[in-house]
């Protein structure tokens, strides 16, 4: 299975970048999962920029150069590389009678997704339009005008990463498009579990994985080659670190979230708008804290902005300014024609779209119970929601929901009414929202449990030094 070559190369490259940018954590599991996402973003950015800005064809030497590029810098910086202190704590969540079935569900559904996803050839219009076909175009180097349009729609990450191993083997295995999605799913599950476990709350980790895999349409989409699930995964990882930043006040977590958002901006044509919205919330949070005396991380934000700008410049070089950002073009077109369209009596389609959107949120079952639990969690834990660790990520999720609502009801109501895109579009909100709800609920369950334990013993919960550190900052 030649995709193993892709996994090894992308993860190694990603690990090197994490060390160069001092973003590695105390957990190898977290680092490996993080490396997959950061490495994917790096490779896609490198391949796209080389091809369309520098005119260097995508080939095995170019692919090798991109994945190897971070290693010299890593070697140079290794001596003074910063590493978080390892946290010794519980590895298994408690109580076992709750988390044993939760863990069993996580393992079983992952197995189901992996087997069905690996078994199923590209069998929808994805194979004939964009995401699964884009890597083949990258392999072939056949970037005619129509092909470049596909590149813009698919985004650089889903175009170049699945094609990596083909450059070395010289043959196309169509299933690499499937393996890319499956690897990303495994990576986010590992990240969620690893992050919780390595930071003293295995309950949060396992519950996050459970929440993530309880969004039915997301689970099914991960067995396909569509890009919606991939974008949801990338945004979900960033939200995980955004929540972590609120907890730990460790600037590294904010940088990790921003780095992941830079990678997310290169997934699908919607990636830029979605990732920039979430990044705007995180940067606002950092700016507000800077006014209160905290250091503002200019350099990490500048690096992420540079990456997004380089990807944007590559797209402009590929298809021209007018075609590089089709979503903006669509918005501008819709805004320009809004008056005319309403005069033609199409208001009814917007109201129909609104009712389908409502159905998609609450009743269709595609998003599971996410949108029932979200308002319930906000209402019941309203005081906790006002704290920075939950308030800022919730602001980002609200922005994503607002964008999806505007897109579904106003921008492309016809695809909402016929239900072709509305459920898929919501995944980019549902996945972060599921992670956020879990974080909020487990925070309550286990912070009160830990507080009781600390009160009883007069000390911190065993092996939970980091949690104490969070507590110092959590309520500011």
């Amino acid at each position: 299975m030649t995709f193993a070559l892709t996994i090894v190369a992308i993860c190694a490259s990603g690990l090197a970048i994490l060390h160069v940018l001092r973003l590695s954590t105390a957990s190898r599991t977290v680092d490996m999962a993080l490396a997959w996402f950061v490495g994917s973003g790096w490779f896609a950015l490198g391949a796209m920029s080389l091809r369309f800005l520098a005119g260097v064809p995508f080939s095995w030497p170019a692919a090798s150069a991109i994945v190897l590029a971070p290693f010299p810098a890593w070697a140079a910086m290794r001596a003074r590389s910063r590493q978080d202190a390892p946290v010794s704590g519980r590895r298994f969540p408690r109580p076992a009678w709750v988390f044993a079935p939760v863990g069993a569900y996580v393992f079983f559904i992952l197995l189901v997704v992996i087997l069905h996803g690996a078994n199923t050839p590209t069998h929808t219009d994805d194979g004939i339009r964009v995401r699964a076909f884009a890597p083949i175009l990258a392999f072939d180097g056949a970037w005619g005008t129509e092909a470049r349009g596909i590149l813009v729609t698919a985004g650089p990450v889903t175009t170049f990463v699945p094609a990596f191993a083909w450059m070395f083997t010289g043959t196309v295995d169509h299933f690499h498009a499937n393996y890319f999605v499956l690897t990303s799913l495994i990576a986010i599950v590992l990240l969620a579990i690893g992050l919780g476990t390595s930071r003293g709350s295995p309950e949060r980790g396992w519950a996050s994985a459970f929440g993530l895999l309880s969004v039915p349409l997301f689970v099914y989409n991960c067995t396909s080659t569509y890009g919606d699930a991939v974008l949801a995964i990338f945004i979900g990882t960033a939200i995980l670190f955004s929540i972590e930043y609120g907890r730990t006040r460790d600037m590294g977590d904010a940088y990790r979230a921003i780095a992941l958002l830079a990678a997310a901006a290169m997934v699908k044509r919607e990636g830029e708008i979605v990732a920039i919205s979430v990044a705007a919330v995180i940067i606002s949070q950092l700016a507000l804290e800077w006014r209160r005396g905290t250091r503002f991380p200019v350099l990490p934000i500048a690096i992420a902005a540079l990456a997004v700008a380089a990807a944007g410049a590559s797209k402009i070089a590929a298809v021209g300014l007018s075609e590089a950002f089709p979503l903006l073009k669509l918005i501008a077109g819709r805004a320009k024609n809004a008056g005319a369209v309403e005069a033609m009596g199409s208001t009814s389609i917007h109201s129909k779209a609104l009712s389908v959107f409502w159905y998609a949120l609450f009743r269709s079952g595609n998003q599971g119970m996410v949108y029932w639990l979200l308002p319930a969690a906000i209402a019941v834990r309203f005081r906790a929601v006002l704290k920075p660790c939950f308030g800022w990520p919730l602001a980002a999720i609200s922005l994503l929901l607002a964008e999806t609502a505007v897109s579904s009801v106003w921008l492309v109501p016809e695809y909402t009414v016929n239900e072709t895109t509305v459920h898929r579009a919501l995944m980019v909100v549902s996945v972060p929202a599921a992670l956020w709800i879990v974080a909020l609920l487990t925070d309550n369950a286990y912070s009160s449990e830990s507080a009781v334990a600390a009160d009883n013993t007069g000390s911190n919960p065993p092996g939970d030094a980091k949690q104490e550190k969070w507590r110092q900052f959590k309520w500011i």
Partner: protein
């Protein structure tokens, strides 16, 4: 009250899969079916009576309308000499997802279809079987189960059939899963029921914690209610998903392409054959049915990165997927023909195939 008890008992009977008092299945007279087909439209293809049963020449899509309004179950015994999918639907719910289908394997097969799973079943609507493929199919026996006389039992049976029906993976599944209804007949969504139950769990948990710990903890109560709600929804999701997915260990990619186009088996088999027989440096044209948006493009996808063009009548050069690339007929080394209606372009002849309308042609 009496009605509620009857409905509850009927639900329990069906849910527990006990001996449901449905009328027994009746054997359909194949002679009567053939003679009726001469006076009434039962199919878009002729039904030919042969000693072993009825023979249908499936060439693309052939439907068979069974004149048994309100049938709840059909058992089909058949012999097929090729790959075929059969979709079952209720006359009133045809053409809309969920598309419920089964593969008819080569050779002898016996298939049973629960028509209550199909969309918009009514007492008056007749069952429809839609055969998709290109092969000769012999139907050797049909059994039809009429609806039960008790309307309450029937209502419950419809609700339970729809509730437990496995997901049917098709072209549209990527966009939305089949809506989950607690009761199709009453239009009650599962999400509403689960949410309502979660409110009850929340209240009970809140009271329980108050009694046990002498303090209010709505956060913990919500965690319990959320876990219960999500677990219930996940359990239902798994029950519907697992029967529909492919859980075998992945075989060689070529075998997966050949065997795993679940709703287009002939396309998968032909794609596999084409990949094995057409060299990477050869250029390919694909001829498909004029109304088929899927097979020609999916064929080009599976043959990529070979240069591929979709041959359409009235054009002089042919574009590939999403209009990429242009090929003239004289540049094509091979033609992959999948369910087309037009004849092969001049100068080409079939060399290998998987069905009468699914073959590879080369220059002669």
């Amino acid at each position: 009250m009496r009605r509620s008890i009857r409905r509850g008992a009927a639900a329990a009977l069906v849910a527990l899969r006990m001996a449901v008092p449905f009328p027994p299945a009746q054997e359909v007279s194949l002679d009567a079916l053939v003679s009726l087909s001469k006076s009434t439209t039962l199919s878009n293809v002729p039904l030919t009576r042969v000693p072993s049963g009825i023979e249908i020449d499936v060439d693309g899509r052939a439907f068979l309308l069974l004149p048994f309004p309100g049938a709840v179950e059909i058992e089909l015994e058949c012999v097929s000499d090729g790959m075929l999918n059969v979709y079952r639907a209720s006359e009133s719910g045809m053409g809309e997802p969920p598309f419920r289908y089964s593969a008819i394997p080569r050779g002898t097969a016996r298939l049973r279809f629960d028509l209550l799973e199909s969309d918009k079943w009514t007492y008056r609507s007749r069952p429809v079987l839609l055969f998709d493929g290109s092969t000769r199919l012999s139907i050797t026996g049909i059994h039809v189960r009429p609806p039960p006389r008790d309307p309450e039992l029937l209502r419950t049976a419809i609700d339970r059939a729809a509730f437990w029906a496995p997901e049917s993976i098709g072209h549209t599944t990527i966009n939305f899963l089949t809506p989950t209804l607690w009761s199709v007949m009453d239009g009650i969504f599962l999400a509403d029921v689960v949410a309502g139950s979660a409110v009850v769990v929340f209240a009970v948990a809140l009271a329980g914690i108050r009694i046990a710990r002498r303090r209010w903890n709505p956060g913990i109560a919500l965690s319990i209610a959320a876990l219960a709600a999500v677990a219930a929804q996940d359990a239902h999701f798994l029950v519907r998903l697992v029967p529909a997915v492919n859980l075998s260990l992945p075989a060689d990619p070529e075998v997966r392409i050949r065997d795993n186009y679940y709703f287009a088996p002939e396309m998968g088999a032909l794609a596999s054959l084409a990949r094995a027989t057409i060299r990477h440096d050869e250029t390919v044209g694909v001829v498909g049915a004029p109304d088929d948006w899927f097979a020609p493009q999916a064929m080009c996808f599976n043959l990529a990165p070979r240069q591929c063009g979709i041959v359409k009548p009235g054009e002089t050069s042919y574009a590939g997927i999403s209009g990429i690339g242009r090929l003239r007929l004289d540049e094509m080394d091979a033609i992959v023909y999948i369910g087309g209606r037009d004849p092969l372009p001049p100068g080409f002849g079939p060399v290998a195939g998987v069905g009468r309308r699914a073959f590879i042609a080369r220059r002669q």
